[in-house]
């Protein structure tokens, strides 16, 4: 089959305009079943040939099979005039192109039963081949069968002699022109032409479809790789995305946005660090510091949106890394703690600044206490509402509970407000360089917390249990691992 196709491709190049590509297409696609049959039959013929060569008698026995095989090829012979031409592709035949039987191989095959002459002349060509001897039977089918066999041997020879392929294909093309004169009218038949055109279209369409499909596969492969990368990154940062399938869409969106914010944070931190180490003027550093402040404002904006969509997600702190969670206060950091840490690090402070920072710490501490008290009262109230009083009215209860949840949102909002105000006030009190150092300290602090979290999540569990003292701690840690609600900020 391959040789046939090669022949067709070769022939397509030198064929007149009326039948350019289609020949290959025609052979390749339209009669797929018949071509498959041919393919199967060709292989079978090859095996048969061997069997015949070895034993020499099987031809008679395989008449039945032959009839089966020939029926199809005989039918296709009508359509594929190149069959008989292929028959002449042996190197030997190249010399004897002008033989009279060449001009009418098709006719010969068609009227196989009538003219034994053509059969014998055909036989003359392959006198060396043992098959030709065996093919001297008057049975039409056998002759057709032999022709095909010879064709197949010819094709096999062609396969072996690759150098002569092109030659023979070119020659065969001329043959086709000459020999297929009787069939040329058939191929130029309008119905056939239309069929050929349709086949062309179908082939083109299927090629395009295949191309599109392959492209789609490629893009989705790339997307999959990107997703896996993101997932890997998120896991390494200790963010559990969509754990237990309980995340609401608002929570999932916030998690994604927060991850992006953290990446941006690291970038800005590098900028601040470079700004401090480099010899930048105060104004330039001020730009960087204000940029960092805006960055934090963005975070509070994100949280503002998230509060409205899923307040419980913000409160339970799953969006933070594990090591940050114990220190969570109403959905975020505690401003007074942060300021205390900063005061320790920013040792050389002017008197005025020291006073300012102490006052800030004091006022934020008071505000925190007030909010904590209000929050605790809210919690008690929610518990009371859910537990239900002596008069339990389900709907009323739920309505009241929902109202309390909206006040919970209010508390988270005020907590974020306090955090934001503290940061802004800090920037007002300190000089530009000190503010830059503050942000650096804060960023490094949280970076270390996240690194600790990832270290902790990836720690080897077996080696922890060493002695009795640590055993309890590790079992506690292991217990705490699945239930993060133990780290309550209340």
């Amino acid at each position: 089959m391959a040789s046939q196709r090669i022949g067709e491709i070769g022939s397509s190049e030198s064929e007149p305009s009326s039948q350019h590509v289609p020949y290959g297409v025609l052979h390749g696609i339209t009669t797929s079943t018949s071509s498959l049959m041919n393919q199967g039959s060709s292989f079978d013929f090859g095996e048969l040939e061997e069997a015949i060569v070895l034993q020499g008698i099987k031809i008679r026995n395989d008449e039945g099979k032959a009839s089966l095989f020939t029926s199809k090829p005989a039918a296709t012979l009508e359509m594929f005039p190149s069959w008989p031409i292929r028959f002449q592709q042996t190197p030997r035949l190249v010399a004897s192109l002008t033989s009279p039987s060449l001009t009418n191989p098709y006719g010969g095959s068609k009227s196989g039963g009538e003219s034994t002459d053509s059969g014998s002349t055909e036989l003359q060509f392959d006198t060396d081949s043992p098959i030709s001897v065996k093919a001297s039977s008057s049975d039409h089918q056998n002759r057709a069968f032999d022709q095909i066999q010879q064709q197949e041997t010819a094709t096999n020879d062609v396969l072996r002699t690759e150098t002569s392929q092109n030659q023979s294909t070119a020659k065969s093309y001329q043959e086709k022109k000459k020999g297929a004169s009787s069939t040329s009218e058939k191929t130029l038949d309008p119905k056939t032409l239309r069929r050929l055109a349709q086949n062309r279209e179908a082939a083109k369409k299927s090629r395009l479809r295949k191309k599109a499909y392959v492209q789609q596969l490629e893009t989705s492969r790339l997307r999959l790789a990107n997703l896996e990368q993101d997932l890997q990154r998120a896991r390494s940062q200790g963010l559990f995305m969509g754990c237990g399938g309980n995340t609401s869409p608002g929570a999932a969106i916030f998690d994604m946005e927060y991850a992006r914010w953290v990446e941006e944070d690291e970038r800005q931190l590098v900028e601040v660090r470079n700004g401090l180490q480099g010899a930048l003027t105060d104004n330039e550093l001020r730009v960087i510091v204000e940029g960092y402040l805006c960055h934090y404002d963005e975070l509070f904006q994100l949280k503002g949106v998230a509060v409205h969509s899923d307040v419980f997600h913000l409160i339970n702190g799953i969006w933070t890394s594990p090591a940050e969670r114990p220190f969570l206060w109403i959905g975020g950091f505690r401003p007074s703690d942060l300021i205390t840490m900063l005061m320790q690090q920013l040792e050389p402070l002017a008197e005025q600044q020291m006073v300012g920072i102490c006052e800030l710490r004091h006022s934020s501490h008071q505000a925190e206490d007030a909010l904590t008290q209000g929050h605790e009262q809210l919690q008690h109230s929610i518990v009371h509402t859910i537990a239900g009083g002596p008069v339990v009215d389900g709907v009323q209860q739920m309505v009241a509970a929902m109202a309390k949840i909206s006040s919970l949102e209010g508390f988270v909002r005020q907590g974020d407000n306090l955090r934001q105000q503290s940061l802004h006030q800090l920037c007002r009190i300190l000089t530009v360089r000190q503010a830059a150092r503050c942000f650096l300290i804060i960023g490094e602090y949280y970076g270390r917390l996240r690194a600790l979290s990832s270290l902790w999540t990836s720690r080897p569990r077996e080696t922890l249990i060493t002695d009795d003292n640590s055993c309890q701690a590790t079992t506690e840690l292991q217990m705490l691992q699945p239930s993060h609600s133990h780290f309550s900020s209340f």
Binding site: E359, A367, S407, G410, Q414, Q421
Partner: protein
């Protein structure tokens, strides 16, 4: 008689409308006056609701600072609803805003603004000016 009344209403709808508007404005002014009267009575006045937890937070904030406040529980006031509406109009907002605090007879705002003032240090100034805080 009824015919005359009918004609009167048909002929003068604009007048009726204007009368209604005027009446409402007078009520609003009354309410505003009432509020102004209340807030001028004390240095720090909080309009709150007994069941609201944020109001509790605000109260504890002032308590923690050692400031005496006058608290008006609107849910226990007969005209509480109207006063709440007045406060909403003052704060130029459509959502329920309690708690609302006035210091020295002047509007400070909701918990948002109060915390902002406290953090930047201006709350203490305000309280000192109003005489609610001595240091």
């Amino acid at each position: 008689m009824s015919q005359e009344k009918l004609m009167h209403y048909q002929v003068d709808p604009w007048n009726c409308y204007m009368m209604r508007v005027r009446r409402r404005r007078m009520e609003e002014e009354d309410e505003m006056e009432r509020v102004m009267r209340i807030v001028s009575e004390s240095a720090v006045v909080i309009f709150s609701s007994s069941s609201c937890c944020m109001c509790h937070a605000m109260k504890s904030l002032f308590c923690g600072m050692g400031v005496n406040t006058m608290v008006h529980e609107l849910d226990q006031d007969s005209k509480g609803k109207q006063m709440e509406k007045t406060l909403m109009r003052l704060l130029a907002t459509n959502s329920t805003t309690l708690p609302v605090v006035f210091i020295g007879g002047k509007l400070v705002g909701s918990m948002d603004t109060l915390l902002a003032f406290h953090v930047n240090g201006s709350l203490v100034q305000l309280l000192k000016q109003a005489g609610a805080l001595w240091l």
